[in-house]
C-alpha cells in the first residue's frame, strides 16, 4: 500500500513490490491531476464574476447566487449574515470573491502554498454550498465533491508533486526566516 511520508513523497513500506512502485507513481500523478483540475475550476469560474456591480442591477450572476442564501435558505445563521452583512456591502464582497477565486486558481495551478489554498478552497466551496444547496436545479453533490477535492489536495500536500512547493521546500527548510517557516507549513 502506498503511503505519504512527512516529506510528501509517496513511498511503500519495506517489502513493497514493483507493482507497489507503479501505485506510487499513480498516486503522485493523481495528486497533480486533482490539484490542476481544481485550479482550472477556479480559473474558469472567476471569469463570470463581473465588476463593478457583480450582477446586482440585473439581479443576476454573483448577486443572484448570493441572494439564494436568503431565497432558498440552507442554514439560518448563514442567511442572516448574507442579509445583514454581505448584501449591504455587496460590491466589497464581490471584489473579495473575485480576488480570492483568482488567487485560488493561480496558487492551485502553481502548487505554491498549496495546503493553505486548499483550505481556502474548502471555505469558499462551503460558502457557495451554503448559498445554493437548496436552489432549484442545483446538483448538490457538485459542492460536496468540491469540498472533498480540496480536502484531498490538503491531505496529499499536492503541491509537492509537479508543483512549486516540491521545488522550493528544501530552500524554505534551510532558511531561518519567518516567511520561509510559514511557507513550509502552508505547503
Amino acid at each position: 500500500m502506498a503511503t505519504i511520508t512527512s516529506q510528501g513523497a509517496a513511498s511503500v513500506p519495506s517489502g513493497g513490490t514493483a507493482g507497489a512502485g507503479l501505485e506510487d507513481r499513480a498516486a503522485r500523478w493523481m495528486a497533480l491531476a486533482l490539484r490542476l483540475t481544481l485550479g482550472l475550476l477556479w480559473t474558469a469560474n472567476v471569469g463570470w464574476k463581473a465588476p463593478p456591480d457583480f450582477g446586482q442591477a440585473r439581479r443576476a450572476g454573483l448577486y443572484a447566487f448570493t441572494r439564494d442564501a436568503i431565497d432558498h435558505e440552507v442554514l439560518a445563521p448563514y442567511a442572516w449574515v448574507v442579509r445583514h452583512v454581505v448584501l449591504p456591502h455587496f460590491t466589497v464582497f464581490g471584489w473579495l470573491v473575485l480576488v480570492v477565486e483568482a488567487c485560488l486558481g493561480a496558487f492551485l495551478l502553481l502548487g505554491l502554498a498549496t495546503r493553505f489554498w486548499a483550505l481556502v478552497g474548502v471555505a469558499q466551496s462551503l460558502a457557495i454550498a451554503l448559498s445554493v444547496l437548496n436552489t432549484p436545479g442545483e446538483w448538490r453533490w457538485a459542492y460536496y465533491m468540491m469540498i472533498a477535492g480540496h480536502l484531498g489536495v490538503f491531505a496529499l500536500a499536492a503541491g509537492r508533486y509537479g508543483g512549486l512547493d516540491g521545488v522550493l521546500r528544501p530552500a524554505w527548510a534551510r532558511s531561518a526566516s519567518r516567511a520561509a517557516g510559514l511557507l513550509l507549513r502552508a505547503s
Binding site: 477556479w42 474558469a44 463581473a50 493561480a106 496558487f107 502553481l110 505554491l112 512549486l164 522550493l168
Partner: protein
C-alpha cells in the same frame, strides 16, 4: 532545491503561458486589435490580439531567461505579468479593457507573476 529544478519549473511556467497565449492569438486573429471582448478559450481566459500578443512576448522572454539562466530577466518578466494582472483587474468590464480579458486572465497572469518571481528570488541551492 536544485538550480535545475528551478530552471525546469521556470520553463514549465513560461511554456504553459506561451501555449495559452498562442492559442488565444490564433482564436483572436480576426478581432479588433484592442477589442474589450476577446476570444475565449474553453470558458476560461479570453484575449484581444493585443492581450494575447503581450502574453506571448512575456512568456517567450520568461522561457529565454530560464533557458539562459538569466534570473534577473525571469524576475522582470514576473513583474511584467504582475502589472498585467493588476491592470486587468482594474479595467475589467470597462472600455479600457484593451487586453479583451476577464477574471480568468487575472488568475493566469497572477500565477505567472507569483511563480516566476518566487523562482527567480529563491536562494540558490
Amino acid at each position: 532545491m536544485s538550480p535545475a529544478g528551478v530552471r525546469r519549473a521556470e520553463l514549465w511556467i513560461g511554456g504553459a503561458v506561451l501555449a495559452v497565449g498562442t492559442w488565444g492569438l490564433v482564436l483572436a486573429r480576426h478581432l479588433d486589435f484592442t477589442t474589450t471582448r476577446g476570444a475565449r478559450i474553453d470558458d476560461s481566459v479570453q484575449f484581444s490580439p493585443l492581450g494575447a500578443l503581450l502574453t506571448v512576448v512575456l512568456a517567450a522572454l520568461a522561457l529565454a531567461g530560464a533557458a539562459a539562466g538569466l534570473r534577473r530577466l525571469v524576475l522582470v518578466v514576473g513583474a511584467g505579468f504582475g502589472v498585467m494582472a493588476v491592470a486587468t483587474l482594474l479595467v475589467l468590464e470597462k472600455s479600457a479593457n484593451v487586453f479583451g480579458a476577464r477574471g480568468s486572465n487575472v488568475s493566469l497572469f497572477l500565477g505567472a507573476a507569483v511563480g516566476l518571481v518566487a523562482l527567480a528570488t529563491a536562494p540558490p541551492g
